[in-house]
Subunit: 236 residues, 2 copies
Amino acid sequence: MVKRSQGIGPRHTKILVYMERYQKKYGYPPAIREICEETEISSTSVVNYYLEQLEGWGYIKREKNISRGITIIKDAFNKLMDESINPLVEKVETLVRIPVVGRIVAGLPVPVPASDLAYFDPESAIDIARSMLPQREKMDDLFALEVQGESMIDAMVNDGDVIIMKKATEARNGEMVAVWLLDKDETTLKYFYHEGSKVRLQPANKTMQPIIIDDPKTIQIQGKVLMVVRRLPVVG
Amino acid sequence: MVKRSQGIGPRHTKILVYMERYQKKYGYPPAIREICEETEISSTSVVNYYLEQLEGWGYIKREKNISRGITIIKDAFNKLMDESINPLVEKVETLVRIPVVGRIVAGLPVPVPASDLAYFDPESAIDIARSMLPQREKMDDLFALEVQGESMIDAMVNDGDVIIMKKATEARNGEMVAVWLLDKDETTLKYFYHEGSKVRLQPANKTMQPIIIDDPKTIQIQGKVLMVVRRLPVVG
DNA sequence: CTTGACATCGAACGCATGTTCGTGTATAAA
DNA sequence: TTTATACACGAACATGCGTTCGATGTCAAG
């Protein structure tokens, strides 16, 4: 039911290269409208759209509401350029390395990582193809958790599975979230639905009964679940 | 009758250093109001004032009407910093090197250099102490001419003198300008005065009669004279 | 065919930011 | 003392420029 994104396209690189050149020439970054002209895109919102993606991919950093507030992340930029001249190396940048920051247990709150920080412990990280993730996600907001115990079976999640999450404190209808139930002292994975002033938490397993929350204040959304990865042992 | 400028002061360097740090940190230059905060100047116009001077001195380059359109000229910046840590070297940057672009002759128009271009021919240039020049002059607009012939004696200018000029096509009362008299095919140096719809060109030598121009269209102002330098031979 | 996410557009909105101006003070030269 | 200029302030003003939103087109999965 979804159309998956193309990944980085010619317009992305064109914009990136232009910004790089501009920066080098003038000492400050171009304005969105200047990028428009150069890249022959007629609408500022489209350029903005691409910039958001580029920021999501980690190629640039932007400061909100600041004129020309663009910083080019050299590492990522260089890597991309390398790839473009050497297609053999290909697909390095199409992977996202997501840190596994802990375990998720029914009886404990979700260990959400601090807002920024470079928690880079290459040991505990998993690589996900960019194309597998929704677009425009800033990879800074992503983290992974290993599931401990059988308590999430009603979410179709097994012991040992890894779930990819995005930091969030609220959700929209139909999204799967990790919630902390204050009155039960329990973490659970459920589909989230607003139901008037109440909230319905629906198990993935449709044969099971939903939980109706009368007072939304008694739950805390810890994050949205973007993906669940289960690696099965192979013999041979 | 004038108060001479202090030259580069603590505020100039403070602003310069801040811009340098900011640029390095964020990848783009600060806005005027950010400089205000940092340097504890309460008015944007004051910062603008200093920036204009810094541009005049050649420390930075600015693009009109462009947010954060400041480029730091590294050479000048480094030189300044060197001086500040090594006062012995001192007074290097207090000099302006002005190109001598040609000769001024009564019978020919003034050879005004093209607007920008790096006409750097170190052979024919003269150094002038910054403090000798009016402030806020962009040194790009300055050039020098060597006087040829005795035809400017009524301007108290001798053969061999060098005059420092600023590019201009109009003037204000009391300024000395180099004008081209269309109907006489002649260049001359005179003090300039508006006289209603006419123009009065007054020789520096007050015993001489002024020239009254009925139709201002018959003259072309080639530049303002900022200084006249006469180097006399020394024996010994 | 319908659905929903991607991709694009154009126009409007509003804050960010450079520019201008009137005014005032201090200082050095005349 | 007077004068011309550097230096300084703050308030408007004008525009640069990022952001938002509704509309439309396209394409792949159901």
